[in-house]
Subunit: 360 residues, 2 copies
């Protein structure tokens, strides 16, 4: 069949151009008679792929030289456990802001090895808003403050970087990375699982201020040290080369779109169209505080959950797939990352209006 | 150009049929209008891929039901650090047999968190032979004994499973997994990075006796616990789905080849042909004790290292690529994993004879 509009939260849709290039190069990459999947990570051909990908990330995000760019494994969740081990001593307090399920999971993994202070927790409001800045209880001397700028499940996004003073800000940007320009200098560390805005699952992009890497205690095994990965160009062991290659194709595609300022305009417009389709319908509902509605993940409910199955079946039949909401939230969720064309959002909005008309 | 014979040690050559199928399905997988790379790991379609891959591993290797089969991330090297954390308490001794660079690295990572006893170390013989069994100094009460059945760099392989009594045997099979039948019951744990005999880099296959998983101390963060991954079908977080899919295609290919008994015959024949080309030449030399020569990685030297560059250039021109030996050993290395056709070994042997004739 033809390509559909795939609203999966992740692993998520990728640019068709990227997949076409990957397909065309699968058997014979660069006229070498091999797939990029089959070559040594230490060979010149792959090193060029790796270096170009790093250079493109630096260009797209404006990463300063005193920040390392790492390509790691294990998913963002593994970093939930490794970040406290790398960025703090065993006796130090680490601060966590909890605004949804992912920031909560991050704090839970940190608790196994560190003293965790929950700065604020939006649970009482069912994670539909960010707790007021004035209510945050920062620890004096915390090693860092961790937060999640976009909660994929709740659809809650920070549209500004919070001011937390001198404490290094650590941000799980898995579902918002590269969707808009960001001032990297405001962060101690940015990291993201690849499977939403970067490439295939199994790759992690990390941007970290180099001085923070020196904090790692002696007791952390060498392979789990970000400092060692930074020193070895993320090749302390064999990296996930094919995922790195696909990520590189995505970065090139992003540059062809005009970079992050340009893609941010598109993303903003896509999100506005979808929220308008929800709010203007008198039928669908999104529970998130307007100031914190996500550009990337848009959850919405129907007036009657009994209609969910019909909505999903009809949407799928119309080529609008993977709209089922997360099991913990219910309803629908449209994930509209960079690679979701504006035409996909238009088609979804039109379908929603039609569905409401027929079933409302 | 056409496909070449790629002797890379890893990431290594894959079966052409597998790459062709991956290419053909890249844009539109199973008529779904998406790539397998773009679908949720929790969706029915991918779960079927994941379950089939596990079933095929169980069938190919005859994995008993009381062993879990895990698909993990981080490479085998990350397991070097996580295995001691998962399979032993902080005060327990762990035994390591060192027969080359990979088993040595494994012991070094373990030292960060545990008391490591080196059972024996083949360094004195430059890792060209396995230290005599009688010389091994096992610790009473060791949590496990770790060894590497095939050292990729030195080309040293165990053709029998060593008898170490009741202590659980933990084997890094990265470069020998699935190359021959193996009696899983003799092991507490088998694990392997995918990039030699399984699929793309970034995936780890682990087979572990379930009772050993219960040993994990409370202090290990949840995401780093094998027990949790076993409980959640290796989906505690998003797994490297595309690599898992490719691995599944390789397993299907292996079954079409007739399974491990059949592929072992081919592997034995390929290795014998290559060692004959070396020993019979009076020109090339392999330093490994004949009883422990690897079926998978065949290092060899020329009489004069000054000819190495010429050999490599001529071989590459003849479509025989990636023959340069590891930087720590020098000379040449031909990695002849499952996916290297016998015709590739024949072509290499013929080239070697011709080269010796012209330069000898």
């Amino acid at each position: 069949m033809g390509r559909i509009f795939n609203f999966s939260a992740g692993p998520a849709t990728l640019p068709l151009e990227v997949l076409e290039q990957a397909r065309d190069e699968m058997i014979d990459w660069q006229g070498r008679g091999v797939s990029v999947m089959e070559v040594s990570h230490r060979g010149k051909a792959f090193i060029k792929v790796a270096e170009q990908a790093e250079a493109d990330v630096r260009e797209l995000l404006g990463v300063p030289d005193d920040y390392a760019v790492l390509f790691l494994q294990g998913g963002a969740t593994q970093q939930f456990a490794l970040i406290p081990m790398n960025l703090s001593g065993p006796e130090q307090v680490v601060d966590y802001l909890v605004t949804g399920q992912w920031s909560k999971k991050a704090s839970a993994e940190a608790k196994a090895s560190r003293k965790v202070n929950i700065v604020a927790d939006g649970a009482a409001g069912n994670y539909t808003d960010v707790p007021a800045r004035a209510s945050w209880k920062l620890s004096p001397g915390a090693a860092y403050l961790h937060y999640c700028p976009n909660e994929t499940i709740g659809g809650l996004e920070f549209h500004e970087v919070p001011d937390v003073g001198p404490v290094p800000l650590v941000a799980d940007m898995s579902s918002t990375i590269l969707s808009r320009p960001v001032d990297v200098r405001k962060f101690g560390m940015i990291y993201a699982g690849a499977q939403k805005n970067i490439g295939p699952a199994g790759l992690v992009l990390m941007i970290v201020r180099r001085d923070l890497l020196e904090r790692v205690p002696e007791t952390v095994p060498p392979i789990l040290r970000y400092a060692s990965q930074a020193k070895e160009g993320s090749m302390l062991n064999t990296p996930p080369t094919y995922s790195w290659y696909i990520a590189g194709l995505v970065f090139q595609w992003l540059k062809r779109q005009g970079g992050l300022a340009r893609i941010a305009e598109v993303n903003r417009r896509k999100a506005e169209k979808l929220y308008r389709a929800i709010d203007g319908s008198g039928y669908y509902r999104n529970p998130v505080a307007p100031a914190h509605r996500s550009w990337m993940n848009v959850p919405f409910t129907l007036p009657d959950a009994a209609l969910d199955a019909t909505f999903l079946a009809e949407a799928t039949a119309a080529g609008l797939a993977e709209l089922k909401g997360h099991r913990s939230v219910g309803g629908m969720r449209a994930s509209i990352y960079n690679a979701m064309p504006e035409a996909g959002v238009d088609a979804l909005a039109a379908f929603m209006a039609d569905f409401a008309r027929r079933h409302g």
